[in-house]
């Protein structure tokens, strides 16, 4: 290791992190090279001072009290977690699933794209549970891939820049549908649904988005390659469109 590389590594050295091999090697170099050793001693003094000054940055008096005063607890259905309710819920779910399965298996069921779009967008409005909660869109994609859902989706450039909120795998007639949530701030989300074009016979045929209003959300839908996309969010068509093209 030469002196220049050792300096670059030692610049980010925090005392106590010697288990990292690159630090161990750079520290050894500082012991061998007197000039580097002198530089490192001065740098450590610099590091300790800047570190102390950061920690001395005063926090405004009353901030903690302000935060606590504004606290509004989330409505969390804690009673769901109790065994009795879980058993009841499981029984109800079985009955419900049986009914749903019966109706879904009927030959005249609605498998149209409009029904699909309405189902997934209304699901986003009614309340949903994300399988994974993370701001990292890469982690969401990875999770979807491990669950056998579609993870090869192509995000429009503006969506790439948004922080994620999480994701989930939905089902549409036993076919997976990937849901990716984006955090717009101010408690608003954008929802992207990705399905196989082959599972949606009358899905949009082009990449030109088509817009429709579903409840309180505006939905844009388009197809690219083997995938069909639905992007739903608050605001009007112009707002949602702003997340589709730079």
């Amino acid at each position: 290791m030469d002196s220049r590389l050792a300096k670059e590594i030692l610049l980010r050295y925090r005392p106590g992190t010697t288990s990292d091999p690159e630090f161990a090697e750079a520290l050894e170099e500082a012991k061998r090279d007197p000039e580097l050793g002198r530089w490192f001693a001065q740098h450590q003094a610099f590091h300790n001072t800047i570190r102390e000054r950061f920690k001395q940055l005063p926090v405004p008096a009353g901030l903690k009290e302000e935060i606590l005063a504004g606290y509004r607890p989330a409505v969390i259905p804690v009673w769901w977690q109790q065994p009795a309710f879980q058993a009841l819920a499981a029984a109800a779910a079985i009955v419900l699933l049986s009914v749903v399965a019966f109706f879904w298996s009927r030959p005249r069921e609605d498998r149209s794209f409009a029904a699909f779009q309405s189902r997934v967008v209304r699901n986003a409005q009614r309340g949903y549970v994300m399988d994974i909660t993370t701001t990292n869109l890469g982690e969401v994609r990875q999770y979807l891939a491990t669950q056998g859902a579609y993870a090869d989706y192509v995000l429009p450039a503006p969506l790439e820049k948004l922080p994620g909120d999480g994701g989930a795998v939905l089902r549409w007639h036993n076919k997976p549908v990937s849901m990716v949530c984006f955090d717009l701030g101010n408690h608003n989300d954008l929802f992207l649904f990705v399905a196989s074009r082959a599972d949606l016979p009358d899905a949009p045929s082009t990449s030109e988005p088509q817009f429709t209003q579903i409840g309180k959300l505006t939905a844009a839908s388009w197809s690219t390659g083997d995938r069909t996309y639905v992007l739903a969010g608050p605001g009007d068509e112009q707002f949602v469109r702003s997340y589709l093209s730079p």
């Binding site: 300096k7 800047i50 000054r53 950061f54 920690k55 922080p163």
Partner: protein, 184 residues
């Protein structure tokens, strides 16, 4: 700094108070290092905890509460800034090979306000990594998670940011001393 054992189960006000007590200071310090404005830093800190109150119960990995809070604060900051102004992109420069030495006496004269002012003069891409580095709340990997960039990039930005910080403090440590606003 491991305070994470039961954090994911926080739901009551008492638990919320505990979480605030543990992290509000360092979150505020990180927020201030990003905004250099007391009101904005307070708002960011508050907003982060309220987001936690609303969404925190969805977090499954209890060990990631602290990282979740810092990540949320950073994204909230980026979102607010995006609405305000588009910043120019800065190319990363190489670490200066002739790093200046700072005399110990000079270092000792630095106060928090001067250090924060100097941080504000760093290239934008260096500011958050360097602030998180000096706050010493997170490992390099956690810093990478918070900022959403690869580990190698984090290390490089920390080194280059500190080199730049040394240059600023050596060359012109108190450029606005006369009009400097005292914080706190």
């Amino acid at each position: 700094m491991a305070h994470n054992d039961n954090d994911s189960r926080l739901a009551t006000q008492q638990d919320f108070e505990l979480l605030v007590s543990r992290y509000y200071s360092t979150l505020y310090q990180f927020a201030f290092s990003l905004t250099r404005n007391e009101d904005d830093a307070c708002d960011l800190t508050q907003q982060t905890f309220y987001t936690w109150a609303r969404k925190g119960h969805q977090l499954r990995d209890a060990s990631k509460v602290k990282t979740w809070l810092f990540t949320t604060l950073y994204h909230e900051f980026l979102e607010k800034r995006r609405r305000q102004v588009r910043f120019p992109h800065h190319e990363l420069s190489e670490v200066n090979q002739d790093l200046p030495s700072i005399a110990p006496a000079t270092v000792n004269e630095l106060d928090s306000a001067t250090v924060l002012q100097s941080l504000a003069r760093l290239d934008e891409t260096f500011q958050a990594p360097v602030a998180l580095f000096y706050l010493e709340e997170h490992s390099y990997k956690e810093i990478a998670d918070i900022l959403g960039i690869p580990l190698g990039t984090v290390k490089s930005r920390i080194s280059r940011g500190i080199a730049q910080l040394q240059q600023i403090l050596t060359r012109d440590p108190w450029p606005h001393a006369a009009g400097r606003r005292r914080h706190g």
